[in-house]
């Protein structure tokens, strides 16, 4: 197997700097989330949680877990798995809001 084929199979090498940048963003987001939850209004903290937490998880999936560099099959599989979970969580909230 030649070098090109190996790279194609492995996806490409992510530079150190990319990971350090993502890590710094994750720390800043954690800081914002904590500040909003502990200092600001409670209603705001719910929104911060709903936006920032999935964003953080998305960054870990996309960069640390190399999803950005994977093919459409794996991306689709992850999408279906997460969508299933979201559908069930949505059904729960729908149910509890009706009761």
């Amino acid at each position: 197997m030649n070098q090109l084929a190996i790279e194609e199979e492995h996806g490409h090498v992510v530079p150190y700097a990319t990971f350090v940048t993502v890590w710094a963003i994750l720390l800043v987001l954690t800081m914002i989330l904590t500040l909003v939850s502990k200092v600001f209004h409670e209603a705001l903290s719910v929104w911060a949680m709903l936006i920032i937490t999935p964003l953080k998880a998305g960054l870990v999936f996309y960069y640390f877990m190399h999803l950005k560099f994977e093919g459409p099959l794996l991306k689709a599989m992850v999408f279906v798995a997460l969508s299933t979970l979201v559908v069930f969580i949505g059904m729960l909230f729908l149910d509890s809001s009706i009761q």
Binding site: T34, V60, F61, F64, T84
Partner: protein, 210 residues
């Protein structure tokens, strides 16, 4: 003598080729983990909507500073894990081993913080069926039950991750993981990152939502 060696090489080479399959297999396992914790998150949400005030009061008793410190510890361990894979891809085995050792150490730091956090709660009788918790309203019992179940299950995953990464460290040292064959390290890394993602969700649900 050369022919059996050549045979082993050819065999190993054939095994390496299916990186795509190895990765998909790992992701399928991760999906089962997502569904496992997802079910618990749904349980948490259901009870939180039923007992909003009790969850709020019980949540404010948790030490959120420790929760945030542990978040920083786990995020940093994810960074060293990701960097370790880049290092091995670039053929820098020593750096990769060092970064992997840092990752395992940070896992131990996380568990140490968790240990002190749990001990304080247990000392105060705030554990399932504990003397202080039995005096509390049902909603608070549920909160602490979920707290110990979910952070405990997550803690077990951290221990499992540390064991797997330690094995990877040995494989790196023995040259079984190297620049042209590192799928094991990549898959171990995927597991470690997922454990990090689960904690990302546990932090706001238990420590910050009060």
């Amino acid at each position: 003598m050369s022919s059996p060696v050549a045979h082993v090489d050819a065999h190993e080479h054939a095994v390496h080729r299916d990186y795509g399959g190895a990765k998909i297999g790992m992701w399928l396992f991760l999906f089962t983990e997502i569904i496992l914790f997802g079910g618990l998150f749904i349980l948490y949400s259901a009870y939180r909507s039923k007992y909003p005030h009790e969850f709020h009061d019980a949540g404010s008793e948790l030490n959120w500073v420790m929760g945030v410190i542990n978040t920083v510890v786990l995020l940093t361990s994810s960074l060293s894990m990701a960097l370790s894979i880049t290092a091995v891809q670039k053929g820098n085995r020593r750096l990769s081993m060092l970064l992997l050792a840092v990752t395992v150490t940070l896992g131990a730091v996380f568990l140490t913080v968790k240990y002190f956090e749990w001990m304080v709660k247990i000392h105060h009788g705030l554990y399932p069926n504990g003397p202080e918790l039995l005096k509390r309203p049902p909603g608070e019992m549920l909160f602490f039950g979920l707290y110990f179940t979910m952070t405990g299950l997550h803690g077990l995953h951290v221990i499992a991750g540390m064991v797997v990464l330690s094995i990877m460290l040995v494989l790196l040292a023995r040259g079984r993981i190297r620049q042209d064959d590192y799928i094991k390290l990549e898959n171990a890394g995927l597991y470690w990152h997922l454990v990090d993602v689960i904690w990302i969700f546990l932090l706001p649900l238990f420590y910050l939502a009060a």
